[in-house]
Amino acid sequence: MSGTGTRAWLAAACLGLAACSNVPFPSDEMAGEELPRIEMAAVPFYPQEAYQCGPAALATVLGAAGVERSPEALRAAVYLPGRQGSLQVELLAATRRAGLLPYVLDPTPEALLAELRSGHPVLVLQDLGGAWGTRWHYAVVIGYDRPQGQLILRSGVTERLVENFASFDRSWARAGRWAFVALPPHHLPASATPDRLVAAAAGLERVAGAAALPAYAAVLERWPSHLTARLALGNASYWRHDLAAAEAAYRQATIDHPDAAEAWNNLAQTLHEAGRPAEALAAAEQAVRLGGPRQPLHEATRAAIAGAAAH
């Protein structure tokens, strides 16, 4: 209970400081076309208990993405008793366990606003400590009011915290402007870049398996010739022994990127297993010709195919 009281005092102190300086609301380049106000009122609210802002904020973004988890259930996955809090990495890991794609945003106000505009609530880390030292806190931004220069958050025990952008940004900047969105794999973040998206999808695939595949497909929809996304889909087909689908994906990759040795190597191995030694050997030789950091693997593939053909 005393935590709640001090939090209120802290918030009041922050607002008081904020009134002195005036950081403008960021990025006016899109002001003409965008909505002046956005609030995702349907985002659930879980008032946090002592030290439990991590599980509460995580439950909020998971719930908004359609995965219902109570803060109590998430506590076992993200709370660290010895630190009386939750680590950023563990929030990302627990998001994967829930079958959702965690994507860490570029540390800019523009990326934050782009996600809000697309209807994605954003989990943020703040340092509310100010002059008294650090106090790390997780909250979820659910909207903004551009004319007023304000953000709207689910934070701690406050269901609808309206915060001046300047004061929010000060606490957010002290935490490295760290923020992430948790989305169903087929639903891409608005501010994402393809390479980091594919890396995020690969992280999800390791934990959630085939549930991650729609993320690669969505990347290819937006960036049709993305090499790693194409190979990732090929690999998924290969592992479930759908050699025809794997071949199609790898072949497309060699058409889009004729210099990609990995694509030729994987195509060679697939053709080899499909019982087409001549085509397999040609592809393996192309991989070896192109070389690159995985040359030992390409050479081994060629040797295996050539050896099998000799018998």
Binding site: A93, R135, A199, N235
Partner: protein
């Protein structure tokens, strides 16, 4: 006598064999390798990853997580995330932290403020 010598030879041969690097195996390039282009030396990276993982599981246990949960929690992390925790789990932000000394300081300041205002 004879069998003992041959046994010794067998042991030596086995040891030598175990120390030899495994020949590269024909395979596809996996998605993990593609998404993490820094780990070029796959075998060495695997050993390092194994050690880092064990290190982080142990640290989570030190911070009060039971051993089964700790292993499960680490398994949902990427190798890069595990590396980050292995290096500085003690100093990374833990959201929700609020120590009693901080509370005391803040309450005292708040009371002072109140007294000054009134």
């Amino acid at each position: 006598m004879n069998t003992r010598i041959s046994r010794r030879w067998l042991l030596a041969a086995l040891t030598a064999f175990a120390l030899l690097p495994l020949p590269a195996r024909a395979d596809i390039v996996t998605t993990d390798q593609l998404a993490n282009p820094t780990a070029a030396d796959v075998e060495r990276a695997k050993v390092k990853a194994f050690l880092e993982r064990a290190n982080v599981v142990e640290k989570l246990q030190l911070f009060g997580v039971d051993s089964i949960s700790a292993a499960d929690r680490v398994d949902a992390m990427s190798q890069e995330e595990i590396r980050t925790l292995a290096r500085n789990i003690d100093s990374l932000p833990a959201g929700g932290e609020f120590t009693t000394t901080e509370i005391v300081v803040i309450v005292v300041l708040a009371v002072l403020l109140l007294v000054l205002v009134l």
